[in-house]
Amino acid sequence: MKRMLLALLALVLVLSACGPAPTPTAVPPTAVPPTVAPKPTEAPKPTEAPKPTTAAPAATTAPAATATAAPRPTPPPGRVTVEFWFGLGKPLGDVLEAVVMDFNKSQDKYYVDAIYKGAYVDTMNAAIAAFRAGKAPHIVQMFEVGTATMMAAKGAIKPVYQLAKETGWNLDPSIYIPAVRGYYSEGENMISMPLNSSTPMMYYNIDAFKKAGLDPAKPPKTWTEVRAAAKKLVDSGATKCGFTFEWPTWTQLENFSAIHNVPLATKTNGMTGMDAELKFNSDLHIRHLQTLMDMAKEGSFKYGGRDGAATVLFPSGECGIIHASSAARARISRESKFEWGVTFLPYYDDVPGAPINSIIGGASLWVMNAPGRTADEYKAIAEFFKYISKPEVDARWHQETGYVPITHGGNDKTKADGFYQKNPGADLPYQQLTRTKPTENSLGLRLGNMPQIRIIVYEEWEKAFQGQQTAKQAMDNAVKRGNEVLREFEKTYK
């Protein structure tokens, strides 16, 4: 008995000796915008022409699942191989792997080796570490808020327009949707290759609307109407919470600024200069936070947590209205046990000109430099980028994932497929993104260390929702702290 205990003790000692080192990589952080949408359920598409690979998600999931269990397929000899690190989790990542697999099958000169590197933050850190060791991957998928960091790393990346020039690829930026292209371009020059882009939408619980005596055919359009509807949902007992949102800053600050055509920061939201200053403590921004605080007080709004933590509150039936990514559509249709509808984001109707186009979230593909790259390898990258820009490939990506099409061609193809008849509302994200020509305030944003700024806003808002400070204090503090982050970023690159 005692001997056994001693043996156990020894084991514990060994375990605790291995313990102390913190292992951040063991926990994939969830700080990843639209990966929240797990599985596309719109997959069975009877109207679609027979295309074996898109038949059902199961068809794409199964081989991928076995591929991860078994060692990854080795690149066939004689092909130019490029490494592609991505950060999309299981269901969506499977679709991406299937796209890559099809590219590899579509020709016999090049081979893209797709490797999952964990969540976006992990992928980013892995790519940075690899670059410092001279072993950067050829292509890396990077979330949109990492754009400024990547663009500032001039020697580490090769801009897409330059890649096109060097490889003789006749790149035409106009085939890409402006709201998508603009986010990743410097002037007319595309710097990274758009891939998964989404935009926030408003989802509402039709069953609960009916129960509360609201007309589901006329979903709320303005914030006044949203507040009234949310209050009615709660007061009538139809739902426990009226309204919530996921990705708080993305839906309520970044896109809020865009559709009301007010600046988030100077210098075209940071796109034309690193010396940009945050401007989101305007009267309109403060007023909006105040609205949310008032709604929280009257019980019609519930703060559901940072990043994608609130998403679950909608399909569970707890909240009747949610602002969530267009890529959450798949998850909502799979998990909800009620009828639901989707519509545009609301706006304040006394703001002149509102609403204009919304902005995207998601990720894009970056070409990374490393010692010893050959012209053939760059050619392989260009071929892969060309492939994913094809209308049929883009259309399939859009339909299976819930991300918006990145090209006009992909959108036309989806329309021609009859997809939108089968899935009403699936075309609204595209419409919301393209309903007006992007202005300075709705082109996108490019702020250094944006993930950190998002966290600062979370912190200040959470304090405001707890009643520890006023809306004005929260916004002023966030702007002040955020500007310090921007100055720090600027200093690093001087």
Binding site: P29, R132, K154, T492
Partner: protein
């Protein structure tokens, strides 16, 4: 003289020590020296531009009110975890040390939490205490307690303290139990003959004789709370709401890994290294003198 007979080879002792030394240098000294080096630099994440800024990173960190805030959170967090863990573990150990039926099963079951990774533990706790989907969280709300750790800082802190402690109790329990079992029965029996009741027995016999274990566990638990609770905090609260669960360790991670501020993060690591060194030194210097070793 006798030693020379056993080790007549001068190199052998060094050779035998070598594996341990190599491991220590590669996995402890080298990264630590890298952290110190990085802490005096200002560098972009890709390492394309590097400037030596000497102690600027340290000054920035120490002047940062948020760092002081994280410091306070860490103190509250570490002391709470240590107290909570040791009280419960000692209680369990004393109970398990008695002659009860199924004692073996009881002991084995108590060890289970230790086998879980912190992140997994946190996910389980999330399933239990999430205000709208967790079983217990929902129950708390339906009992009229306003439970929402996503918005209430104090509740969030309580939750991460309890979740971190839960994992560590098994470890402490084992040490206390071993300590209790190594107390000679003769001493206990003598006390019982003298008429000591169970409280008196615990106060005058068990507890003093356990003091080496207790002392060791205080150090281990403080270090655990400082360094090893990242997974729990990360999976449960992300350091929020507000900054109410951002400990020094979590701040190092956020600044270095998410915000890519390598210099500032390295400076914080160095400070953390110093704090823990001082802590351990203090404990050995002052507390150990008062500990009764058997």
């Amino acid at each position: 003289m006798q030693r020379r007979v056993i080790f007549n080879n001068r190199l052998l002792p060094y050779l035998l020590l070598l594996p341990q030394l190599v491991i220590t240098v590669v996995f402890f000294f080298w990264p630590a020296s890298q952290a110190i080096y990085q802490s005096v630099l200002s560098q972009d994440p890709f390492g394309l531009r590097t400037r030596v800024v000497y102690l600027e990173n340290f000054l920035t960190v120490l002047r940062d009110p948020l760092y002081i805030e994280a410091f306070k959170v860490t103190i509250v967090f570490s002391i709470s975890v240590t107290l909570f863990v040791m009280t419960l573990a000692l209680l369990f150990a004393v109970m398990a040390d008695r002659q009860i039926r199924g004692a073996q099963t009881y002991k084995t079951l108590l060890l289970w939490p230790y086998a879980l990774a912190p992140a997994v533990a946190a996910v389980l706790w999330n399933f239990i205490f999430h205000p709208s989907i967790g079983i217990f969280g929902k129950a708390l709300n339906s009992w009229g307690l306003h439970w929402d750790y996503q918005l209430n800082g104090a509740q969030a802190l309580v939750l991460v303290v309890v979740a971190s402690s839960w994992k560590q109790i098994a470890h402490n329990f084992l040490f206390f139990l071993a300590g209790l079992q190594s107390i000679p029965t003769a001493v206990v029996e003598a006390a019982m003959i003298d008429g000591a009741n169970s409280w008196k027995l615990f106060r005058s016999i068990h507890f003093p004789l356990l003091s080496p274990t207790t002392f060791y566990l205080i150090t281990i638990n403080l270090v655990f709370a400082f360094f090893d609770t990242f997974g729990v905090i990360h999976a449960l609260t992300h350091g929020g709401p507000g900054r109410s669960t951002t400990t020094l360790m979590y701040k190092v991670y956020m600044d270095g890994y998410v915000n890519l501020n390598l210099g500032g993060s390295a400076a914080q690591s160095v400070i953390l290294m110093l704090i823990v060194s001082v802590l351990v030194w203090l404990q050995f210097r002052f507390v150990e003198g008062k500990v009764h070793y058997t």
